[in-house]
């Protein structure tokens, strides 16, 4: 079972890689046919023999007129300003209130990144609690992210849990990216400092009703490779969350939303919860804001 779960993340990302590379092995789509070049406009290929290109020169022309030091500094700046820059983003996907007859709850989920096109530092955080003071669960992840295909990046790093229950530290191996049909996908496998293995798969989709009104279905599935009674988890699928949020982009960076969130414990984890007198499912109205800068 543990091996199976560990295989999930690579499997999911492998699908996208395969989709991109598939054409290379398909054998049905050769190099462009000559007729596609519309020969009446593009003249025929050059007559043989065709000259070879010269080797790249070893000198730099401007150093004939300007000091090599000044040119080296300008070249470094040139590289930085032509593809060598860094960027960043702080994204709060959900920051919401979950009104409840007892105590109102809250939840958040967000991600920040900094770096270049390929290599990035990523911070993720999510959690939920009640306004009467009890933080039920919370976590922070610090990851190195590397773009590996046109749409996906691999991520590795650490996760720290906080909140009620035992505090755990995990090693994280995950992926994140954009699947065909514009589905945002994210998956992580976790190895805790107690040796427990678990995994999480998330997906979301933006259904653009108008330029500013967007309906976002979002789902999350959690799995555990073993019974972890301290965390109330049993081996197998442990719980799922489905959300449907309707947001209005006042600006692209700031969108209040209203929605519903449905959570359900699954399998033997649900049995454990029932035995403990807890609810196994819950549906809540959510009010919040999605913001980034």
């Amino acid at each position: 079972m543990r091996a199976l779960l560990l295989a999930i993340a690579p499997l999911a990302i492998g699908t996208s890689v395969a989709a991109q590379d598939h054409g290379a092995h398909h054998g049905h789509q050769p190099a462009p046919a000559p007729d596609a070049r519309q020969g009446h406009l593009i003249p025929p290929p050059l007559q043989e023999p065709v000259a070879e290109p010269p080797p790249p020169p070893s000198d730099r022309a401007a150093e004939r007129f300007y000091s090599p030091e000044a040119m080296a500094a300008a070249r470094a700046q040139l590289a930085k300003e032509h593809g060598g820059g860094t960027a960043w983003k702080v994204m709060l996907s959900n920051a919401e209130v979950r009104p409840h007859s007892g105590s109102d709850g809250y939840a958040w989920e967000g991600e920040a990144w900094w770096g270049g096109d390929i290599h990035r530092l990523v911070l993720k955080s999510e959690g939920e609690g009640e306004f009467d003071g009890k933080l039920e669960s919370g976590e922070v992840q610090a990851l190195y992210s590397r773009a590996v295909t046109a749409y996906f990046q691999l991520q590795a790093g650490l996760r720290q849990d906080f909140g009620t229950g035992p505090s755990r530290t995990y090693a994280v191996l995950g992926f994140e990216g954009l699947a065909p049909y514009w589905f945002e996908l994210e998956g992580s496998a976790f190895l805790s400092d107690k040796g427990d293995v678990s995994a999480r798969l998330e997906g979301a989709y933006d259904l653009r009703l108008t330029q500013r009104l967007i309906l976002e279905p979002r789902g999350e599935l959690n799995l555990s490779a073993q019974d972890t009674p301290e965390l109330g988890l049993a081996s197998g699928l442990t719980d799922a969350e489905l959300g449907l949020r309707l947001r209005y982009e006042i600006r692209q960076e700031f969108a209040p939303y209203v929605g519903v969130a449905y959570e359900r414990k699954l399998g033997e984890t649900a049995d454990l919860a029932r035995a403990g007198g807890e609810d196994v499912e819950e549906t809540r109205l959510v009010l919040g804001v999605r913001a980034w800068f």
Binding site: A19, Q20, A24, H26, H28, Q29, P30, A31, P32, A33, D35, A36, R37, Q38, H40, L41, I42, L46, Q47, V50, A51, P53, P54, P56, P57, D59, R60, A61, A62, R64, Y66, S67, M71, A73, A74, R75, A76, Q77, L78, A79, H82, G83, G84, G85, A87, W88, K89, D117, A147, A150, L178, P180, Y181, W182, R208, L209, T210, Q211, Q252, W292
Partner: protein, 576 residues
């Protein structure tokens, strides 16, 4: 025209106002700067500098666009900078002083000159440090309409550009009674660094014309089947321009649409309009409803006159057109952004204060299979081809063996078509004659009749989702080698667009001949727009020794890495 100006003269005295530029300089009175630019409804506008010694200062200036205050980086305090008017054959000394607290530069776009005077920091010279003056000095070897702009950081977006007009030494083959320079550009109140970061953070950020469910229900845009097919490929058919009218105000001679720059004419006059697209990211569609446009020059080089009603002009291109309004009425000059997210608007009129109807923005076009590098005819040949199949072949490395495949390469055009006969995105069905590259025929025979001795293919690659752009899959910051040429060799360069955006590609220091079916009279250009999924061939005689920049002239594509250096050796030319 060429007046000797002492180099230390106060700049106000240098700014010669020319409200009607032609007619042997009929209105050559000295006007103060404030009267010439940024004032609503004024006749024309651009201060002019000329002579053998010209002083230019780059600095920060507050400007007003359509009544809103903004900040600009300017040359001599105005947006656009002054018109630099030169004479073919003269020598010129341009002293550029940097009043900024960062480096700056001026690149003389389209001018043939020694490479060390080309003005690209890190390639041709070290740049101009704050508070320093750099003196550019070169002989003017050509005539025509050109322009200049910063090649440092993103200053060009902030207003650091201006026009150049070079009068021919002999008789001008273009007959006209009056001329106006028309500089098109795009201005944002958002800082360019922030624009770039937004694009990295969310590539579709500035596109507020996406397809919606509401549109689907109203029967607009793509039908559901097509939407699903495009979604399967993670391609957005509304992604025409990266930065749009959602943040840009489109300027004509520094005037917003409400400012309404007005150029004067007398009915019956032949009016020469010298268009320069100094926009950072905007491809414009230009028309003057009611007037035929006779295109007489492209990128400063004369072409056989061709009459059109509209033309597309991509960043860095120039077109000279002659119009002959005969009625005593105003005409609206429309420069519509290619994605129809906004327009620049100006007026040609017999008298100040007159206006004409401003046509509404036309419907935003959608990308199609041809933009994906899938030729129509080839598509039909495949009949009922399944879309998931084509989605896979959209990134077949065998179609571009030289491209380094990686996260920065979203697609490889499977069947790139020659699109020099296409009018540009969204202009296929406008119901009137639109200029296409195949209409351009050089007025003079091409100077080098030799056939190319070799062919060089360069792929324009990118990933619209990551906002990564490069040549052959490698951004400049990761490049080891330049693109080498032997002095005086003749090479056919083929540009293949492996992306769904147009890329206006500019080679510094040279003209090349766009291979468009008029051998011997191919149009000579410095910038050629390669339509999405298309290919363009040009023949180049590498007769200017040195190191030269070669890049996409969409500013943020260049900033993302779509840039390289072209070398021409030996440096002493034929002497070796």
């Amino acid at each position: 025209m060429n007046r000797l100006v002492p180099p230390r003269l106060h700049r106000r005295q240098l700014l010669r106002g020319v409200s009607a530029l032609g007619g042997a300089g009929a209105l050559n009175a000295f006007l103060p700067t404030w009267a010439q630019s940024g004032t609503p409804g004024l006749a024309a506008t651009l201060p002019t500098v000329s002579g053998d010694h010209i002083a230019l200062r780059v600095g920060h200036t507050p400007i007003t666009v359509d009544g809103r205050r903004g900040h600009a980086v300017t040359v001599n305090g105005t947006v656009p900078g002054p018109l630099v008017r030169l004479k073919e054959g003269q020598s010129v000394r341009l002293a550029v002083t940097n009043d900024l607290d960062e480096d700056t530069s001026i690149h003389w776009h389209g001018l043939l000159l020694p490479f060390q005077m080309d003005g690209v920091p890190g390639v041709s010279f070290p740049g101009i440090k704050p508070k320093e003056t750099f003196i550019y000095e070169f002989k003017v070897r050509q005539a025509g309409t050109y322009w200049y702009h910063s090649h440092s950081g993103l200053q060009e977006q902030m207003g650091h550009y201006g026009p150049i007009v070079i009068d021919p030494v002999g008789e001008d083959p273009v007959q006209f009674d009056r001329e106006h320079v028309v500089v098109l550009s795009d201005y944002s109140f958002m800082h360019p660094h922030e624009i770039f970061r937004k694009l990295k953070a969310q590539a579709g950020y500035f596109n507020r014309q996406k397809q919606t469910v509401a549109g689907l229900l109203k029967g607009e845009d793509q039908p559901l089947k097509d939407r699903k097919e495009w979604a399967a490929m993670r391609m957005d058919p509304t992604d025409i321009l990266d930065v749009t009218g959602s943040t840009y105000t489109f300027l004509i001679n520094g005037h917003g649409p409400k400012d309404n720059w007005t150029g004067l004419f007398k009915p019956g006059e032949r009016v020469r309009l010298r268009f320069v697209n100094a926009g950072a990211m905007t491809i414009f569609n230009v028309r003057i409803p009611g007037l035929k446009l006779s295109v007489v020059q492209a990128d400063g080089q004369n072409v056989q006159p061709v009459e059109v009603e509209e033309f597309q002009i991509s960043p860095a291109e120039t077109y000279d057109v002659v119009v002959q309004p005969t009625e005593d009425r105003a005409y609206t000059l429309v420069a519509e952004a290619a994605d129809r997210s906004g327009m620049g608007r100006a007026t040609l009129a017999p008298r100040l204060g007159m206006t004409a109807e401003v046509p509404p923005l036309r419907k935003r076009p959608l990308l199609n299979m041809r933009d994906m590098g899938m030729d129509h005819s080839a598509m039909m040949g495949m009949g009922g081809m399944e879309m998931d199949h084509s989605a896979m072949s959209m990134r077949d490395p065998r179609n571009a063996p030289q491209v380094k495949m990686g996260p920065g390469v979203q697609m490889i055009s499977p069947m790139p078509a020659d699109r020099t006969g296409d009018p540009g995105q969204g202009l296929e069905d406008v119901g009137h004659k639109v200029l296409v590259y195949t209409d351009l025929v050089a007025l003079d025979p091409n100077p080098d009749p030799r056939p190319p001795s070799r062919e060089l293919e360069i792929h324009l690659t990118g990933n619209m989702e990551r906002f990564m752009w490069a040549f052959d899959g490698v951004s400049f910051s990761h490049l080891k080698d330049p693109i080498p040429f032997r002095f005086n060799e003749r090479v056919r360069v083929v540009l293949v667009n492996d992306s769904m955006m147009a890329h206006p590609i500019h080679l510094h220091g040279h003209f090349f001949e766009v291979v468009n079916g008029h051998p011997g009279r191919h149009p000579r250009k410095h910038t050629v727009n390669v339509l999405p999924g298309g290919r363009v061939a040009f023949d180049l005689t590498a007769d200017e020794p040195g190191d030269w920049a070669f890049h996409c002239h969409l500013l943020y594509h260049m900033h993302a890495g779509m840039f390289n250096v072209v070398t021409v050796r030996p440096l002493d030319g034929g002497a070796a």
